[in-house]
């Protein structure tokens, strides 16, 4: 459909141009992933989403709340929160829980970072924090959908699909939108989280694996020798070419021949891009590839850098599904997750920086919601925190963000964002803005109306751009 309307416009605007030239043009235009001009000068060319599934506790990471220690073990009063979205959770008495982690100020900007992130603490001058994100749904799947699509229900295009739809991609031998999940546990609803919804399927995320074929069926089964494959491709080309000559008026036929050529090129390019054997030992160590704890996330961070370097538009890295979720044993769970991700993410920032890529690569670190200052009284000895849609801290780095800055604030206990409150659609609007896209103008006509990623909302977070 996308191709259709596109072609329609071209025909209308080019009436009078000779047939053959027109067909050539259509062919070039038939590639939905061709790089396109942004709406306004872009600060970032690529995005890397670092998706912390499960919900990171803001008051234990980047939003210190000394009051929690002061009121530790006292009763938290929820009575004023009538319209809670988690009525069952808050029906029982609850006790405030002090943070088990120590905070220190870091960098020239003097940013508070807990002991969980010793590596990231060295990068704070490259990061911009927002401590006042509110989300809409306290259920993991709906909240992850919100994070990815701006909607709490399935079926809408993901932010990566929107960006790729808006800008195409910089390398025609690679997918424009790459997803790097943790195969120990993929997020709820799997590929729907990076789907293209009503946008054409060309814009959906392509999942890459770091073991075996990085793309499903990228290479033929082992019994098919390179000679056999070449034979097949030659025969296919010859037959398709003859067919095309007899039916040259159908531009789709050429587009499909081109897609096969791209597939052929991807077969050789993709493994090369992902081959980390080419990296120095120092780089490998820096990303933590030699340590089983950091290997999974580290390898994918390194893949992300290599993909971005090659012009891939959008990369999304996930922690395992619900990994940060810490209803009990907050300390152990958060330590484990921080351990797995801290060093690799810091390495990614530094590596991009030394290669001069940080300015054009936007990093967005966030989960699906924040966590509560308290826990149910009967589970006090398990020391966990529950889901909190009222406050979450996120950070962005590179890609032209206002590094070293901070926006928004939560109340004394970190229960609720109280200053400069932003929502997920504002985060999306900000990402689009930095990519040179105007969220009001990035529209797609579907089911009787024009749709936007930010729908009826969306305001750029001014402090970070």
């Amino acid at each position: 459909m996308w191709n259709e309307s596109r072609r329609r416009f071209l025909y209308q605007s080019l009436t009078g141009v000779g047939g053959i030239a027109l067909m050539d043009l259509l062919r070039a235009e038939a590639n939905p992933l061709a790089a396109r001009q942004p709406h306004h000068p872009a600060k970032a060319k690529s995005v890397i989403f670092l998706s912390m599934l499960g919900g990171v506790s803001h008051m234990d990471t980047f939003d210190p709340k000394p009051a929690l220690t002061k009121f530790d073990n006292t009763v938290m009063d929820w009575s004023k929160e009538k319209a809670t979205d988690q009525a069952n959770l808050f029906a029982k008495p609850r006790l405030i829980l002090g943070s088990p982690f120590k905070f220190q100020k870091h960098g020239q900007c003097g940013r508070d970072v807990s002991e969980l992130f010793p590596h990231l603490a060295t990068c704070v001058d490259d990061m911009a924090f927002v401590r006042s994100i509110q989300t809409e749904n306290g259920n993991h799947p709906a909240a992850v959908f919100l994070m990815n699509t701006g909607w709490t229900m399935p079926g809408k295009p993901s932010v990566g699909a929107w960006v790729t739809y808006g800008l195409g991609t910089g390398n025609q031998n690679l997918p424009g939108f790459v997803v790097l999940p943790d195969f120990r546990s993929i997020t709820f609803s799997g590929s729907q989280q990076w789907g293209s919804g009503f946008l054409p399927a060309s814009f959906q995320g392509t999942m890459l694996r770091w073991k075996g074929d990085p793309i499903q069926n990228l290479t033929p089964p082992q019994e098919v020798t390179p000679h056999m494959q070449r034979q097949e491709m030659d025969l296919l080309r010859a037959y398709n070419q003859q067919h095309l000559e007899a039916h040259f008026t159908n531009p789709d036929l050429q587009a499909r021949i081109d897609a096969y050529e791209l597939a052929y090129r991807m077969q050789s390019e993709v493994p090369g891009v992902l081959d980390i054997a080419q990296e120095t030992e120092a780089t490998r160590t820096m990303y933590g590839l030699n340590d089983p704890v950091t290997e999974s996330f580290g390898r994918r961070c390194l893949m992300a850098r290599k993909l971005v370097e090659k012009g891939v538009r959008f990369v999304q890295i996930y922690t395992p599904s619900q990994s940060w979720d810490s209803h009990t044993e907050l300390e152990r769970r958060h330590r484990q997750n921080a351990l797995e991700t801290d060093q690799p993410i810091a390495a990614l920032i530094q590596d991009l920086k030394r290669r001069g890529l940080l300015d054009s690569t936007l990093l967005v670190w966030m989960g699906e919601f924040g966590r509560t200052p308290d826990c149910p009284a009967d589970l006090r000895d398990k020391a966990g925190r529950d889901h909190n849609t009222r406050a979450m801290t996120i950070w962005m780095a590179g890609g032209g963000v206002n590094a070293g800055t901070i926006a928004g604030a939560t109340d004394e206990l970190g229960f609720k964002a109280v200053e400069d409150i932003y929502r997920m659609r504002d985060v999306h609007a900000t990402v689009l803005h930095l990519m040179g896209l105007n969220d009001l103008r990035l529209t797609y006509h579907h089911a009787g109306r024009n749709w936007r990623l930010t729908d009826t909302g969306g305001q750029v977070i001014r402090q970070v751009v």
């Binding site: 259920n139 195409g168 999942m207 098919v224 039916h247």
Partner: protein
Amino acid sequence: MRDWRTLWAAVLALPALGEVAGNEAIYRERLAPLLAAHCASCHTGAAPQGGLAMTGLAGLLTGGKHGPAIAPGSAAASLVVQYARGEKNPKMPLGGSLPDSVVAALAAAIDAMKPIPNAARDAHAEWLFSKVKAPAASKPSIDAFVRARLEAKGLSPAPPASRRALIRRVYFDLIGLPPPPEEVDRFLKDESPNAYEQLVDRLLADPRYGERWARHWLDLVRFAESDGFAIDSERPTAWRYRDYVIRAFNSDKPYDLFVKEQIAGDEVNDKRAGDDRAERLVALGFLRMGTWEADANFKTQLRQDFLNEITGTTGSVFLGLTIGCARCHDHKYDPIPQRDFYRLQAFFAATRIDDRPAGFTKSEDPAGAGKRLLRRLEDEAEEAAEQFKKLEEKLKQKYSEARNLKPGDKSAADYQKALKDKKDPVYTEEERRQWAESRDRSRRLGELPARHRPLAYAVSDVTPPHVPAVADTYVLAGGELANKGEKVEPGFLSCVTGDSGPAKIPFAGGSSGRRLALAEWIASADNPLTARVMVNRIWQHHFGEGLVRTPSDFGRNGERPSHPELLDWLAAQLVEKKWSLKALHKLMLTSNTYRQSSEHPLTKKYAEIDPNNQLLWRMNWLRLESEAVRDTILSISGQLEKSGGGPGVFLDVASDVAEGFEFFKWFPSPPKEQNRRTIYTFQRRSVVMPMMEVFDAANMAESCARRNVTTVAPQAFTLLNSDFTRRAARHFAERVTEMAGPDRDRRIDYAFRLALARSPSADEAARARGADLERLGVVLFNLNEFIYVE
């Protein structure tokens, strides 16, 4: 790129914005001061009188419990003016009255505003919402209508398609599979004048027709066999709805009856429906097919989401209108007030989800073996569960002994951790394997009985005496549950009936009769939308594009029909032929318009006059859909299993697609069963088959009226390298060898005829000689000619 998108956005956005902006200014300058002086003391604040908050123009348009306070452009129709003039009681402001000059100023300001677009009834709306009138033509036919428009532009149709192209086209179109070489030969040799007509008849009578066309309908009704969201629970008997749709197409169930059964199968009283009540309960599955967040926190919101979803889907599927847009506000483009959305929703006010007992019908279970099968499956499940339990007890015992636990020590439950931890020395590798195997067996067999229980995945009504009264329906301002406005009764679209009062509800035994009222209104020959929308859908699948190219949006924002008279004539034909879809198919398929070539000698010239072929000067190409691609490869490689119906089959999928889910495990069916047609594969919302996904299958989240057609590299990977293709190529080679004998050239010839319904050219045959049959098979599956049907 940027230009066209901007332009597109601008074209759509400007008029609406302009109107709003103009009204906004009039509101600010003329209306707001009057309202502030005379009305604001009661109609502002946290609890405004009558629910009407006069804050901003939006507040007035949203209105209070009596509806919008103003109707821009019409003071006479505006409540504010009616109350101020005392035309409505009580006269406003309460206990007083406004000076005439103020009332006049108020009225003048409202009259000066531009009507909101939906209030206006343009020529398109006039046509769309008026009863279908068969156009006056001396000899009406598809070809006559098409030719008239072509001639007006000085164009002529393409020559007839070759017989080979035609048989391939009509095979894929009607049954979704290629013609076997023998059938092609027979057709090419048949010189009788009605050879083609007979071919069409044969294919329409072929049970594979239903398997093909049911898929189009399943796209539309967002069919899936699981809930979606986190838990994504299986809907174990949803397959019965799929089979119902297949049977409906195969038996040529009159379309009006098909509609009625899906909306009100439990209430319908139609002689044609036969006496099989179970069949009609299964049909109600239509109302259940949306996603369902089983663990939602707000149950009232979940209920409202359900009601919104079926109201919107009913509107788009049967009426071709984006009614869902009117949930939060009056429709921005079509004359559908927000009130009408909730009046329609009120037809479902008593509807609740319900798995209803419905014994298997004769067509579902011809041998009457259902009960026995269920008992056997239950026994097997029980036995497997028992066995697993015993094994677990044994393993638990071992754990307690190894850890020296006292009887009753709760940490004995940790044996599972030890089983999952490969480093734990308590268990041997063999024990771990046994445990996993027994657990999986128990889970797999445990799933089976539910799929064979005689239940319909349906709905029922909650009515008195079980409740004091059917639940009330309110207009919800902004679509928010918390903002209850006017209470409404069930009622039909006022833009069609001209009546915004309540509908007459028929008596329906123990049910409310509400859905029946709606179903009968939709399925009536007098409804201007129903027949047009369905005729257009059928046309779209035969010709590649609808006469209206936005098949679920006939409204102002959709595309205009390319041949309105033809559309109306076909709609009238559908009703005249007693809603027979097969009659409609035949009408379309036997037209010259359908039988013309997809190549026109003057393509270059014509492409500039009518680039999108809206006038139908040639036939459109068909890119095979995902199901047709898979079914075709299975079919020509001789693997296709023809058995039909019953619970879905689970395909082998890569571990990263099917694993990692917390609430279910994916157990592939036996290999032979997996070779059934794709329509019989299990449709789990969170496990999308990669091959289906890359070839643009419907995404199951919402109604899909028209699939995307994309061309991306992963399609090539799938068709070149997947196990599926490679296995098919081996079977293909074997089959060709068996059928064509030892001669190499005859083999090549047969391979081409299987895949492309033609023999190779001398050049093609020469090239093919260099490759073995398996290579040739892979190449044929990947050809443009294979996947694009002329």
